[in-house]
C-alpha cells in the first residue's frame, strides 16, 4: 500500500518522529513523508508512532491508498526531495 504521512507534533518529539519515519518512507518536505510499504511495515509504523507520540497533544495523519497510481501529484514551486531510487 502507498502511504502519505503528515505530522504536527510537539517540538520535543518532532525529531523522534522524523528519525523514525525516515527509516521507512521518503522525506518530501517538512513534516511530510511518503512511500510504498507492506502491511506488516504499516503495522510497525503505526505501533512505533504510538510509542513516540503523545496521543493527547500530537497529530499524525496517515493517508493510505492501495497503489501509488491513484495519486496525481502537482507541485507548485519546487519539489524539495524527489523520490529517486536511481542515484
Amino acid at each position: 500500500m502507498y502511504l502519505i504521512v503528515v505530522y504536527d507534533v510537539d517540538v520535543n518529539r518532532v525529531n523522534k518522529v522524523h528519525k523514525f519515519l525516515r527509516t521507512f518512507l521518503h522525506w518530501r518536505q517538512n513534516s511530510v513523508f511518503e512511500g510504498e510499504v507492506t502491511r506488516s511495515q504499516f503495522k510497525k509504523i503505526t505501533v512505533g508512532l504510538k510509542e513516540i507520540v503523545n496521543e493527547e497533544k500530537d497529530s499524525i495523519m496517515i493517508y493510505k491508498m492501495p497503489d501509488k497510481k491513484y495519486l496525481d501529484l502537482q507541485v507548485i514551486g519546487i519539489e524539495k526531495n524527489p523520490i529517486e531510487l536511481i542515484l
Binding site: R22, G35, E36, V37, L85, L87
Partner: protein, 323 residues
Amino acid sequence: MKDPLYITSHGILLRKGNTLYFMNDEGKKALPINGINEINCYGKVSLRSGASSLLMKQGIPVNFFNKYGYYEGSLYPRIQLNSGLIIVNQSEHYSDPIKRAEIAKEIVEGIKHNLLRNLKYYKKKGKNVDIFIQDIEKEVIGGTVPQIMSNEGRMWHAYYQSFNSIIKNFKMGNREIRPPTTEMNALISFGNSLLYGSALSEIYHTYLHPSISYLHEPAERRFSLALDIADIFKPIIVGRVIFKLVNNNMITENDFDKDVGVLLKDKGKKVFLKEYQSKLDTTIKHPRLNRRVSYKYLMRLECYKLIKHLLKDKKYESFKAWW
C-alpha cells in the same frame, strides 16, 4: 514491496541515525532502509562501516559493477535462509552427471523457447529473421552437459546475429565482450550484468546456494547459479528492454563513450536502469498461480521450482514465456 537502489554516481553510503544516507558533492540524501532490498553500485561508491553493518544486519546485498557494467563482487550478508538439506541436494544433483544434465537440458529448453518467442514476434512485424529462427529451432537439446552447452552457445549466436535485422540504428557486429566493441555489445553486456545482479538477489531470498549450478560450471569467482537463472530470462527482460530503448531512440550514439571499448555514459545508464527496473516491475497474470506476478518474481519462482525438483517433489519445468 521493497525496491532496489541503483547508484550510478560517485559517493559515500553512510549510516545516520537508523537509516542509510548517500552523500556526494550534491549533498546528502536520506534513504528508507526498510524500503530497499538490494543496492547496485555502478559508480565509485564507498561504504562507511556503519552503513555496511546496517546493510548486513538488514540482509541487503550490495552488488558492485565496474564502469563497463561488469559484475565485480558483492557484499553478501550473512545467509539468513540456511538449509543444509538444500545444499546437500544441490550438490547431489551436480555430482550425478545424469541428474545434472536433466536440469541443464531443461534450462536450455527454456532459453530456446524464450529466444524463439522474441524472434517470432519480430517476424510477425515483418523483420527478416526466418533463417535465425530455423537455426535455433533445429537445435536438439540433449546429451552430456558440454553438448548441451554447445546447443546453447549456437542458439545465442544465432539470436545475436538476428539483431542486425531487428535493430534500426546500430550495427550488431560480433558478440565481443572484453571490452564491448560496439554500442550494441555495450548495451547487451550492461543488461546481462544487471540481470545477473537481480538473479543473485532473488537467489539470496531463497534457500538455494548461489554457487552450485547445473548449466554453467560452478566456478571460483562467480555465483554461477545466478548465471543459470539469468540466462533463461535474458530474452524477455534484457532483449526486450534493449529493443525498446534503441528502436524508440531512447538511447542514441551520443550516450556512449569510446574509450578502449565502448561504454554507456552515466545519463545513458540512468535511462537504461529506469527502463530495466520498469520491466522488472511489470506484472503478468500467471496461468497456474492465477494472480498477477512481476517479472522479478518470476525469477524467484524459478528458484522455488528448482528447490522442488531438488527435493524430488516436482520435476523442474523451466520458465517459458507465454507472451
